[in-house]
């Protein structure tokens, strides 16, 4: 459940954490678990789809005989390879959505954002403190 209530309606002044508070959260095991779960999924997948895409572009530039091979009817390797780029893009989007809901959002909800170190100091970013904590991944459904 969202802890929006504890911070009141949309944009109360203040309500942010101070620097020590953020450092404390960053050092917490819950946050480290979330970060490594995020990076473990996202970094290899990014490398994989970029390489897969670059392979397609490189083959289009340098392996034209291979790309020209007809597979069925007028449909050649180049077209199938191109369509597979669409398929892989859709699948990665679906996989990330599932991973976010199943793993990242629960992990984010476990991070103790009201940990000791939280204070009433206004956030440091320029502009008024229009904070609305606990949106996004913390919202469980």
């Amino acid at each position: 459940m969202s802890n929006a209530e504890s911070h009141g309606p949309p944009e109360p002044p203040g309500g942010g954490l101070d620097e020590a508070g953020y450092l404390a959260i960053e050092a917490s095991p819950e946050f480290r678990r979330l970060r490594s779960a995020f990076r473990r999924f996202v970094f290899p997948l990014t490398a994989a789809f970029l390489l897969w895409y670059l392979l397609y572009v490189v083959l289009s530039a340098y392996a034209r005989d291979f790309m020209a091979k007809k597979m069925f009817g007028e449909i050649n390797v180049a077209l199938v390879f191109g369509l597979l780029q669409f398929v892989s893009t859709f699948l990665i989007a679906v996989a990330y959505e599932r991973y976010s809901r199943g793993t990242l959002e629960p992990l984010a909800a476990d991070v103790p954002t009201d940990a000791p170190g939280a204070s009433a100091a206004p956030p440091e970013e320029a502009g008024p403190g229009r904070t609305r904590p606990a949106t996004g991944e913390k919202e469980a459904e």
Binding site: L23, L50, S60, M67, E74, N76, I92, A108, T113
Partner: protein
Amino acid sequence: MNAHHVLAGVTAASKTEQHRTISLVLFAVFVAITLYITIWASRQTRTAADFYAGGRQFTGLQNGLAIGGDYMSAASFLGIAGIFALSGYDGFLYSIGFLVAWLVALLLVAEMLRNSGRFTMADVLAFRMRQRPVRAAAGISTIVVSIFYLLAQMVGAGALVNLLLGTHGEAAKIWTIVVVGALMIFYVVVGGMKGTTWVQIVKAVLLMIGAVVMTVWVLSKFDFNLSHLLGAAADSSGKGDKFLQPGLKYGATDVWSKLDLLSLGLALVLGTAGLPHVLIRFYTVPNARAARTSVNWAIGIIGVFYLMTLVIGFGAAALVGSKAIMAQDKGGNTAAPQLAEKLGGGAGTTGGAVFLAIIAAVAFATILAVVAGLTLASSSSFAHDLYANVFKRGKTGERDEVRVARVSALVIGAIAIVLSIFARGLNVAFLVALAFAIAASANLPTLLFSLFWKRFNTSGAVAGIYGGLVSAVGLVLLSPICWGGKSATIPKGNADALFSETTVAPFHMQNPGLFSIPIGFLCAYLGTVLTREKTDEKYAELEVRALTGEGAH
């Protein structure tokens, strides 16, 4: 030409009149609807968050449609369909880059940006840094990218009006640019992000409907057999199987032209996640989950759309034929509208006139929605980054900032109109690819290092932005786009070159990305490691906020 043709020509002329009228009426209806929406939106716009971020109340689906509306420009509808129609397979190289690029935005950028920023790209870039230098650099890069993209769209609109409405002469072009510019200024100044978003949603729905109808119609002519369509397109093109293989347009000549293809591919796939007008769309939803679902919707919509442009482009090659397309526009930009005319019954039929008119009106709606998004991105950045944080050092109220944003939308829009009128005779299609290259070289390295590299600092951010920006623009200034002399890369020379048609370009590629993207990353890296400043504490805050949503606006 025999008598039969002459007669057909005469009827075609009156049908041209007919489709022009229908086009103008449909376009007027679209404009009326969007003006109404804009005025409605202006009544809902009170705070800075309303103006910059549409009140952060759009749903994932709505924002996904708006992202599609922002992204599926005339270049991607008419341009990519045209490449398919004239150069066959190579259209796919473009559209696949445009689509796969969204994974970078989805996995690395969208949610973290939503959680840690407020209104502009620079909010995140400057988060850990000294505000003024980074905001100044990010603001300049935002405005340069947006204005280049804007010019390509507006000059394109001026060129299209003659083709789509059958008008002639310079006056029609100038009027089109002025009308498009005036409407976009109105959308942004009056409606802010809320109005602009709804314009983009309406446009995305219209464009998708138009594309679905055309795609199904084309496929029905070939028994819903893709292989038959491809075969007919290859036959009709006169290029045979080559038409279905990569290489007719990109990487066709020497070693440089193949590298040019790689360079284009890199800029396309890495550029999207650094385009400011795309990034600010993530602020219009209430939270990171909605930002993520909106990208997922966008990937679905944009992916299906590009699959349809394949059918539309090959359909135009098969049914209209490259000769008839080239006769209208050497660049192939009229392939889709000409296909519509053919599907409706052909030139000189009422059905043909009606469907042509519909697609032409959709094309203009497309341009309007895109230019509005670009104007909003650049004016937001001017007001929030340059005015409020660089000039006024953060000492300004929201009300003042929004007023400045409105004024700067007016000024930037006016500048774009004037520049487009002067540039209307030039071939500025390259500006779209250049905008992607700058986004990938200047914005993306800084954005990724900001989010993921603890050691990153102010000097690194500033060096990355300026290094990427200068190298991308500089290489294009040395390229065959500006110097059109004959070389192995362009055996025929480039008669449309901006500076000289005879001097050979010192840099042989048209796309700078292959060099400027690594330069951008390298500058950001060196700028950081050569200076002492550390931003560890602020990085802790950024990281916690970006990943958990703590303290999100």
